[in-house]
Homo-oligomer: 364 residues x 2
Amino acid sequence: TSNKSLLILPGDGIGPEAMAEVRRIVGWMEENRAVAFDVDEDLVGGASIDEHGIPITDAVVEKAQNVDAVLLGAVGGPKWDDLDFSIKPERGLLRLRKDLQLFANLRPAVCFDALVDASSLKPELVSGLDIMIVRELTGGVYFGEPRGIEDLGNGVRRGINTQVYTTPEIHRVARVAFELAKKRGNRVCSSEKANVMESGVLWREEVTHIQQTEFPDVELSHMYADNAAMQLVRAPKQFDVIVTDNLFGDILSDCAAMLTGSLGMLPSASLGDVDETGRRKALYEPVHGSAPDISGQNLANPIATILSYAMALRYSFDMGDEADLVEGAVEKVLASGVRTGDIMATGMTQVSTTEMGDAILKEL
Amino acid sequence: TSNKSLLILPGDGIGPEAMAEVRRIVGWMEENRAVAFDVDEDLVGGASIDEHGIPITDAVVEKAQNVDAVLLGAVGGPKWDDLDFSIKPERGLLRLRKDLQLFANLRPAVCFDALVDASSLKPELVSGLDIMIVRELTGGVYFGEPRGIEDLGNGVRRGINTQVYTTPEIHRVARVAFELAKKRGNRVCSSEKANVMESGVLWREEVTHIQQTEFPDVELSHMYADNAAMQLVRAPKQFDVIVTDNLFGDILSDCAAMLTGSLGMLPSASLGDVDETGRRKALYEPVHGSAPDISGQNLANPIATILSYAMALRYSFDMGDEADLVEGAVEKVLASGVRTGDIMATGMTQVSTTEMGDAILKEL
Ligand SMILES: CC(C)[C@H](C(=O)O)[C@@H](O)C(=O)O
Ligand SMILES: CC(C)[C@H](C(=O)O)[C@@H](O)C(=O)O
């Protein structure tokens, strides 16, 4: 592989449509910025189930291990809803996260100026909103053992999952959050349920420990996860960086993303440790899901996937200028009033997925 | 004890202030409706810690076991934040829930007409909102074993909690949700993370089983908890009854409560099974917490606690008429423009806790 290797996994639903627009932008980069990407494409999720019977193959995981960045569309859909838990589309994504040890999931919840009115919240509460949620992604109840469904006899069953965190797992994701805060508003809010769960007590103690010993200049606060959900709805701008575990992060980041009104616009990055070769394993994907209800109809908003590619340019390929170009083009297109259906408003021009791609390429 | 026994546990923070207003209304009932309550009052939470060193005594639990209804204010505050997990104020509330087997927590998320503008959401999204969240309250990760923090040596520790549900636990709370739905919009949405957790798979299967075998006429849908958080923010009126587990219910019900803008107004009921004597164990409490920042200043909104008492009248004392009276008085007071600080808006009259009590008594 070259030193600019990218694995594209379009996945299911609107994933492939959105990714087609990204490929056009990758093409533009090669032509106009003289950067050659070594791009490979493969299957994940339902698409992989249909072809191979499993949501990701060892070969694809192997490829993902050896590229500079993975770009993922979305996984899942009603077609695969009745499959057994162990081979559902989601397991493909979960295996990628776990095998690549992508422990830090960065989910910005940003309200785009042009989209303030698309939020269900009052404009003054979300205009200018810029939160970064750092979600632990390879631990907690998502992967803890023991897990499963036991038969206790007499028709009674018991379902079990285990929430588990060790100090090193907490430390590494806390460091990512504090590092990010230093480049932003210098404030971290850590969220758990330490009033109910011992794993939350440990989380709180260890995040505090990292702050005190390594980041004394970053402000740290703690908030129970139920209160964090309330505060996000009440006054989201009070937050800068939020760091939390896998399950709370799943819920809080979706809640935060939705209240920006810009869900179809939000990218995310999942990062691992830096390896011997100086490379940080990384997967980029939109915050939104596979939206099966609108897939295949050229209706999807490709911007979150395009901005995920921009994030890859910035963080995995050290191409900040090119990332700026893409992000700037997206902003100009929005400012010009061009909108896909999900962010449509009166007075704007509604366009299809491919037309949105056209508009962004034109701005580039 | 008489057949109208009530145990009042004011607890911490604004709990005692709010409860003082309830006691005035209890007095009014005795004088004007000729109903004698056998009212006892005792300590829970930090108040109990200060007196007895533990957040609830066996004697208080024993009392709670033997009354028709428990009315609780709120527990917790910064004063007790550094106490060991096992004796924190919250453990008093958790022990009450567990020992009384109050497995079904009913949390209405209702937007009061007079308060539509207090919501952070746009008025059209919340006006008329009326959701009932049924949260499982005695199982799941709140009580699952094993739990705790282990020392693995070399300064490494591991925090563990266990999410566990059995079929009977799921069945009984599902039945409460379906029964409630029959008296409302006839729709139940069940929420879990069945795409990630086996306990969620069991939850989904067993809720479906109860619907198919016992409530075929009630509409049942399923929604992952992260999506439920998003949908609550995006379009809360799509929901009628939501049934979910202890932890998801904690977060989703707080999120839903906050988006009504009526947090200081929302009561809740925690119900157990009907026992041999025909009595259903029950605890009523406001959805809001102890609000230590405003406690002791005669600023708190007592309405959620007063409406919790009204819920007790309705569900534990079979006094629907009297419950109507109290609820009607609250609505009239709101319509007249009287407001505590938390729900204050321009053009309204701001009052203290006791003045709000005065106004409600006057309407009665
Ligand atoms: C698809 C699902 C397994 C996943 C998760 O729960 O992590 C998704 O909700 C997400 O947030 O990326
Ligand atoms: C105080 C705390 C233990 C409690 C909970 O987590 O259940 C509270 O948040 C609630 O929702 O009643």
